[in-house]
């Protein structure tokens, strides 16, 4: 049994995973994505791996390396098909909508004027986000038309091409928290609430984590979301909408769990490590109901 773990930085999560693999007695090779040169014509020694766990911080690296390895027949966790959907909020919305999973309403536009139309169609407050982004970066709440015009113009003038996609979401009047469910192999294993005085409740932005007692509604949404995108490992973020109940806000393909192990009492890295080791005992997950 040979496992590799791709990484950009060995953060707390990666060290916990290394220790967890250590405990199982399975050797893992640590591979710095920055050191790689890949030959698409030659798998070299890649086929010796039973699985490659992708813990790269860079989405570009994840997809680039993952696609090459998958072409060699190497089992990458998560599959790039899942990573490509989870990392992109528009693709996530599409997957959730097609699967009939409750999620906030969204409008997408491609230029400044239609972006403002999209915001007005959603109504105030609206939330504007980069389709590809994380840790709460550049997530903006637009409370009125003046603010919306200003943010849209800033995005148009200062943003990268990626910022030219205006992904506008309905603002959910959630309590001062959101819910995160950790899902491994389509099974919820732990959940936390992230609480903050700020409406953006990322722990990377200072929110505090506490254990969340999973209820059937949250568990069901988490399982269906995981299946909809065909993820081995995914953190499903839920917003509590006063009118519609729980809504799936976004999916995270490379979950951070440093604040959640003690909080929940669940050995998340251990569960992940054992899942990676057992991966070849079950077929590659595919997106529910559709071939792609």
């Amino acid at each position: 049994m040979r496992i590799a773990m791709l990484y950009t930085r060995l953060r707390v999560e990666e060290r916990l995973l290394i220790d967890a693999f250590d405990e199982t007695g399975v050797d893992i090779d640590l591979i710095d994505t920055r050191s790689l040169v890949l030959d698409p014509a030659d798998p070299g020694r890649w086929n010796e791996y039973d699985a490659v766990l992708d813990r790269s911080l860079s989405l570009t690296a994840s997809l680039t390396i993952g696609r090459v390895l998958e072409s060699f027949g190497v089992r990458v966790i998560n599959p790039t098909s899942a990573t490509a959907i989870c990392s992109d909020k528009l693709r996530t919305t599409l997957a959730l909508e097609r699967a009939g999973i409750a999620t906030p309403g969204v409008r997408v536009a491609l230029d400044q004027e239609s972006a403002l139309d999209a915001v007005e169609a959603i109504g105030y407050p609206a939330v504007l986000k980069p389709t590809i982004g994380s840790w709460g970066r550049l997530v903006a709440r637009l409370n009125d038309r003046d603010g919306a015009e200003a943010v849209i113009e800033h995005r148009a003038v200062l943003g990268s091409a990626q910022q030219g996609v205006y992904y506008v979401q309905e603002h959910i009047e959630k309590p001062d928290r959101d819910i995160r469910v950790f899902v491994v192999n389509h099974e919820p294993v732990a959940a936390i609430v992230r609480t903050s005085e700020h409406w953006v409740t990322n722990t990377a932005r200072g929110a505090t984590a506490a254990n969340f007692e999973l209820n059937s509604e949250a568990a069901d949404l988490a399982i269906r979301s995981s299946r909809a995108v065909g993820a081995d490992l995914v953190a499903v973020d839920l917003l509590e909408c006063p009118e519609r109940g729980l809504l799936v806000n976004e999916l995270n393909h490379s979950m951070e769990f440093r604040n959640s192990v003690e909080t929940t009492g669940v050995d998340i890295p251990g569960i992940v490590a054992r899942r990676v080791i057992a991966i070849n005992d079950s077929p590659t997950p595919s997106c529910a109901g559709r071939s792609r």
């Binding site: 060995l10 911080l57 840790w135």
Partner: protein, 66 residues
């Protein structure tokens, strides 16, 4: 583990490249490991294991995340 011999050895540390304060490790660090300098709070990356060399960790890039 040889934790008893470990305590007899010199503490595992290296100077912070930013403020020169000693940055200590509870065990031998891994290549690429990220740590924070307690004195100046900058993020550091282990770029050599023996001797330990620390460099400022690269800035977060646009496509980085969960």
């Amino acid at each position: 583990m040889t934790s008893s011999t470990q305590s007899n050895q010199e503490t595992i540390q290296a100077p912070c490249p930013e403020c020169e304060a000693p940055v200590a490790f509870s065990r031998s660090p891994l290549y690429g490991e990220i740590t924070e300098c307690a004195a100046c709070e900058c993020e550091l990356e282990v770029t050599n294991r023996s001797p330990i060399r620390l460099e400022l960790a690269p800035e977060v890039e646009e496509d980085w995340g969960e």
